[in-house]
Symmetry: C2
């Protein structure tokens, strides 16, 4: 592992408070790897051998069943994924593949569990992280079950708007087919939803998103703190 990446990792909420000695244990056993785009990192059903930390690039989490496939999340730097499987020493529930060239740290699950047993600060940080993840998935379920696809798209645009510091124009940052799957619809349906959104104050043109009438968009989207807030 490159020495100058270590401080960055150490600064993550998950590792910030833990004992230096335990942090060293984790880092010493870890691997730092760079992957090209479209590489499968993990396959659902496999044993969770490593906790993954994405340092640059982006990774898609997806799941399949009976020849169908759906995108579950896109994760960017700097965050971890499949923490729950690591902790429970259980099989992955999702697969992961790189979207673009990505640098990823792999920490052996055994080490993570061992340090987790010893280090109270680390254990607390894991709890905070997991509780956050749990709440995100609950919000996602509410989004899926309570909203139509158009409403989901409208709220997605607003969430991205807030995530970009309130910019009215920003890049989509991913393929539409993946966004469609993430939002629980087909690519064709997303195309139509994008057209249907135009008279409600949002345009998506190629890779660019522009909010033209925020009021209109919000009237349609009816964003909720209990579904759309990123933190809390």
């Amino acid at each position: 592992m490159r020495a100058d990446d270590i401080p960055e990792i150490r600064a993550l909420g998950l590792f910030r408070e833990m004992e230096a000695e335990n942090f060293d244990t984790l880092v010493r056993g870890g691997y730092f790897q760079t992957f090209p785009p479209q590489v499968d990192l993990i396959t659902e059903g496999d044993a969770a051998d490593f906790l993954h930390i994405i340092v640059s690039g982006s990774v898609e989490l997806y799941a399949g069943w009976n020849a169908r496939e759906t995108s579950m999340a896109t994760v960017g730097p700097i965050s971890t994924f499949i923490l729950a499987a690591t902790i429970r020493d259980a099989p992955y529930l999702m697969s992961a593949r790189t979207v673009e060239k990505s640098r990823i740290i792999l920490l052996p699950s055994n080490d993570v569990r061992e340090v987790f047993e010893r280090d109270h600060a680390f254990a607390r940080a894991v709890v905070t992280e997991l509780a956050q993840c749990y709440r995100s998935v609950i919000k996602n379920t509410k989004d899926l079950k309570l909203r139509t696809s158009l409403e989901r798209l409208a709220n997605y645009v607003l969430r991205r708007h807030h995530g970009n510091g309130g910019a009215l124009e920003f890049e989509l940052g991913q393929e539409k087919r993946r966004l469609a799957s993430l939002l629980g619809m087909t690519p064709e349906n997303l195309s139509r939803a994008i057209k249907a959104l135009r008279p409600h104050g949002a345009e998506i043109d190629g890779t660019w998103v522009r909010i033209t009438q925020k009021n209109d968009l919000e009237r349609l989207a009816k964003p909720s703190r209990l579904i759309d807030d990123h933190c809390s």
Copy 2:
């Protein structure tokens, strides 16, 4: 709190390993209450003042948005709910109401967080519990996004079959309207799905479920360890 309920609580995975002193702190500050059916225990958006433990009866977790409502889970004894909100000191993402007469322990969230800071064993148990919850919700999302409503019903029947020790006949144990909402469909649609399931080896008649051709049912349901397993 009644003295003879305490050992039962203490035996829960969440509390089993923690320091006696800390357990006492939690229990001393807790309330034990009995609620009639259809009582609202918590409302989404409120501050998470208490960690709830259901000792008998059953509780429905549900969520609403824009005049729509959906059932998120039904939880029975002995388990906790809204642990994540308690830990993060964040608003509830779901509401909860009793389904039947229920006995419930309320532990002040402040106490839980305080003990959580002090007691490593408790913190570890919280992690295990949360990781479990997280994985359940992920499985539920996969169920929703990857399967049709008929497939979800078929798999639900098979899960209940396994949950009842492999019995081919068992009680539904809840109103069909709630089951419908839980599975992400309308009551009408569930009625039709039930009829459609008959030629595939499962009958639901009133409150009774009977599996007549397990092979047929499994051929339709294609249950997956990574969606339908209760543990792991």
